[in-house]
């Protein structure tokens, strides 16, 4: 009797082990490198910036049969902090990536989370988006010089709007610009709007003096002349608008809002190499060129350790900015 019961238990145990092993095989897809199923987490809602980039990358990878299918999941909450916490919790998961960007780096600080980017495994930086300095049609500011002069005279009197919350790119850019031209970031009057739409409204109605944001959502208003661009934040000018860079305008600041891909911490070197190779191959496809063109994204590819160093640098820089403002 005892023996039989023990036998049944052993059999059940063996079945469980076998079952979980085969389950691992299915999700991890270890057997066939060219046909892995991967999961991608996206830290904002469908249609948002990370979502567009993540889905475009996943589609390119799938269409070129670089691996199996992607299971994409939008994990919302606290500007990406919730998703970062999940990534941290899935330590060692060899089938997970997350699309993220500069905004997530800042959100982790403002939400006082421990899931910092420097703890994750860097895979690749994919694209960058320049920030633009926007003013309404009839604004007194004709150039960056005008803005800098007025801003320095009375820092608080210039109302700056952005399409992100404190810690997001549209917030970090004016703060870093203020610091560069010698204004205490704490004196900046920053108005946070819930995305590009409300920011456009405020600019068109001249409720604020300047708007700082990525230019994609403003193409229509820039084209019909109701909004003007004083400068863009990148190293070089962008084809999208006819505006000088900040450095040309005499402000020594290069700022870019980048997006990239991370993996959970604690994955094997082999798995990391696999992911880096996967996104490198993806980056070289014709479809990806087309996605970049279609979405007006600037290619800014960087992988592995170099991306890791870049993340480290961004992490520190954002932390410094936010610390000065008392936001961490």
């Amino acid at each position: 009797m005892m023996y039989t019961r023990r036998g049944v238990l052993a059999l059940a145990g063996a079945l469980t082990v076998a079952g979980s092993a085969s389950a691992c095989g299915v999700t991890g897809g270890r057997q066939d490198a060219s046909n892995r199923r991967l999961r991608m987490m996206i830290p904002n809602s469908p249609g948002g910036g990370y979502d567009q980039t993540g889905r475009a990358a996943a589609k390119t990878i799938e269409d070129n049969d670089l691996t199996g299918r992607f299971e994409i999941r939008n994990v919302l909450g606290a500007s990406g902090t919730v998703a970062m916490q999940r990534l941290l919790n899935e330590r060692g998961a060899d089938d997970l990536v997350m699309t993220m960007g500069l905004g997530v780096v800042g959100a982790v600080f403002t939400n006082k989370s421990k899931a910092r980017v420097s703890r994750m495994t860097p895979v690749a930086r994919l694209i960058e988006d320049q920030e633009g300095i926007l003013v309404p049609k009839d604004s007194p500011f004709e150039s960056v010089d005008d803005l800098v002069a007025t801003w320095k005279k009375d820092p608080g009197a210039v109302t700056v709007g952005g399409g992100s919350t404190a810690g997001g790119p549209d917030f970090l850019f004016p703060m870093q610009m203020a610091k560069t031209i010698g204004i205490d970031p704490r004196d900046v009057t920053f108005i946070s709007y819930d995305g590009g739409g409300p920011l456009t409204t405020a600019l068109l109605g001249s409720k604020i003096d300047v708007g700082m944001s990525g230019l994609g959502e403003f193409e229509g208003q820039i084209a019909d002349g109701s909004l003007r661009v004083l400068a863009v934040s990148g190293k070089e000018r962008t084809e999208m608008v006819d505006a000088p860079t900040l450095t040309e305008g005499g402000v020594d600041l290069v700022f870019s809002n980048w997006r990239g891909v991370l993996a959970p911490p604690g994955i094997s070197a082999e798995q990391r190499r696999y992911l880096v190779d996967l996104f490198t191959t993806m980056h070289d496809t014709e479809e990806w060129r087309e996605e970049l063109r279609r979405n007006g994204w600037t290619d800014n590819f960087l992988t592995g350790d170099e991306f890791g160093d870049y993340l480290q640098e961004q992490d520190t820089r954002v932390e410094t900015t936010l610390k000065e403002l008392g936001l961490t």
């Binding site: 979502d51 456009t200 409720k207």
Partner: protein, 512 residues
């Protein structure tokens, strides 16, 4: 007019008609499910812009938008489970109607009201889009603050016969609205990042309405005899028509301008419409027990607001809701920029879209009106199964947003609150309004003061704001005057049966 006819030619090609049908059906389905809204659906369908012509895609997206506005009402009425924030108010009277066997009429007045409002809204859109858009950007945070304040003021009309209970409910709602980090400070988040973005109104409404009620029924199932829901007339009677048409028109008048305003939205006009109908009704005693006006008005308001949203979107490329923002994204991925030049640059697309809105409205009516009596039969399911189904459905909806168990916990906590509110006779409407208005009021106030750097005089610095404050003062004066004259003011005792009836049935239930 010729342009519109050409638009119909675009909209009525077999392909585009098919896309309109798909859009309307999809929209109705996602409208039904709490958690998944039209914005998310359109976003997930964005990849079709790779393969489909711009007109077809936009026509489908518009169908989803209108369908979503309508679909939410079906579950609101039948299951007390609003699928969208814009149909939360519909549940209040709609579900009461369903309980007395008038589900068909509620569904019908919602369908026809949506059709009427959507059609009028689309006509207004055609007429006004090119001109009105410039005006809406003139309104700033001070004006919105004043408008929201006026709306909050209107809540006093629905506090119920016990002012104390009404205010308790309102402040509970305002407190729930405080959760989040929108001000830069974490408030009431208990260190949970899941709470950082605040609590979704749909989760609160589903929990308070559906979960709260299911728990309440479960708690009383043994002690009370089964109420059989009578099978009513399948169609609207002449009296129902007579009571519905004015609320439809008034709802449209609320919904359209709010939709067109950048910070307007669809929720505020629905409850303003509800409150107005309650005030104007010749039978105020029916409110809280299933008054058809309370369904007709809000349902018209939410569809009209969807039409209004397209005004700034098409005219100046300004998205005022999440769905509009995603539609804008779709247009941009075709290289089309909405704005003043859109009407001349892409006449086929614009007029095709406008014509397809008429088509989508008609489709919604044709698809949904015959379904109303069929849906109403759903309520014949024995109560234990029906409520089990509602619980399952509500949980699925809450879980589907984020696939997080946390949201289910949230649903249960608010469900228990809903149960407690029923037990103690607290009216639910003030709470819902508090959750909707609180955060908006705060956002506009803090934005206005941030721009003016703390100078309070900015609050009456815009003409619209001044006018709205004058209206508030007039209402106040009117209330005080009528109180002095007869002692039975507009919000005086007897003017409102809801809380009273809740409380009295509560007592009956307890003694039973």
């Amino acid at each position: 007019m010729d342009l519109l006819l050409e638009g119909f030619q675009t909209a009525l090609t077999p392909t585009n008609l098919l896309f309109a049908v798909i859009g309307v059906l999809l929209g109705t389905m996602v409208g039904v499910l709490p958690g998944i809204g039209p914005a998310m659906t359109v976003a997930l369908l964005l990849p079709i812009t790779y393969n489909v012509s711009p007109s077809s895609a936009v026509i489908m997206f518009a169908g989803i938008y209108y369908g979503g506005m309508y679909g939410g009402s079906t579950t609101s009425i039948l299951l007390n489970t609003p699928g969208e924030s814009s149909s939360v108010v519909t549940a209040i009277e709609g579900n009461k109607m369903a309980k007395v066997g008038r589900a068909s009429q509620a569904l019908a007045t919602a369908a026809i009201g949506s059709f009427v409002a959507g059609t009028i809204g689309t006509v207004l859109l055609v007429l006004l889009a090119p001109t009105v858009a410039d005006v809406v950007v003139k309104l700033g945070a001070p004006s919105y603050f004043a408008i929201m304040l006026l709306a909050l003021f209107a809540v006093t009309a629905v506090l119920g016969s016990s002012k104390l209970r009404g205010f308790v409910s309102l402040f509970l709602g305002l407190a729930i609205g405080l959760v989040g980090t929108t001000t830069g400070q974490a408030r009431l988040t208990f260190g949970r990042p899941q709470l950082a973005d605040g609590i979704d109104i749909v989760v609160v409404a589903v929990a308070i309405f559906a979960i709260g009620e299911a728990l309440w029924v479960a708690a009383h199932l043994r002690r009370k005899p089964l109420e059989i829901i009578p099978v009513g007339q399948p169609w609207m009677s002449r009296e129902d028509w007579g009571r519905s048409w004015k609320p439809w028109l008034r709802g449209t008048a609320y919904g359209f301008p709010f939709g067109a305003l950048p910070a307007g939205g669809a929720e505020v006009p629905t409850f303003l419409s509800y409150i107005t109908e309650r005030k104007l009704s010749k039978r105020p005693e029916e409110f809280g027990k299933g008054a058809i006006e309370g369904v007709a008005g809000p349902e018209a308001a939410n569809n009209a607001s969807a039409a209004g949203t397209l005004v700034p979107l098409l005219a100046i490329g300004l998205p005022t809701t999440a769905t509009a923002a995603v539609i804008l994204l779709a247009l941009q991925s075709y290289g089309i920029q909405p704005g003043p030049q859109l009407f001349s640059a892409e006449p086929e697309l614009v007029w095709g879209l406008l014509a397809s809105l008429f088509v989508a409205n008609t489709l919604l009516l044709v698809l949904n009106l015959p379904m109303a009596p069929m849906w109403a039969k759903l309520l014949q399911i024995p109560r234990p199964y029906l409520y089990a189904g509602i619980l399952f459905f509500a949980s699925l909806g809450a879980y589907s947003v984020n696939f997080a168990a946390f949201d289910l916990g949230l649903l249960l906590v608010f469900g228990l609150l809903g149960l407690a509110m029923r037990r103690f006779g607290l009216p639910v409407l003030p709470l819902i309004i508090g959750v909707i208005l609180g955060p908006r009021l705060e956002e506009q106030l803090s934005q206005a003061l941030a721009i003016s750097q703390g100078d309070v005089s900015t609050l009456w610095g815009e003409p619209v704001a001044v006018v709205v404050y004058l209206v508030i003062v007039l209402i106040l004066v009117g209330m005080v005057a009528s109180r002095l004259r007869g002692g039975n003011g507009p919000s005086g005792p007897g003017g409102d049966p809801e809380a009273g009836s809740d409380a009295s049935t509560d007592r009956e239930r307890l003694s039973a």
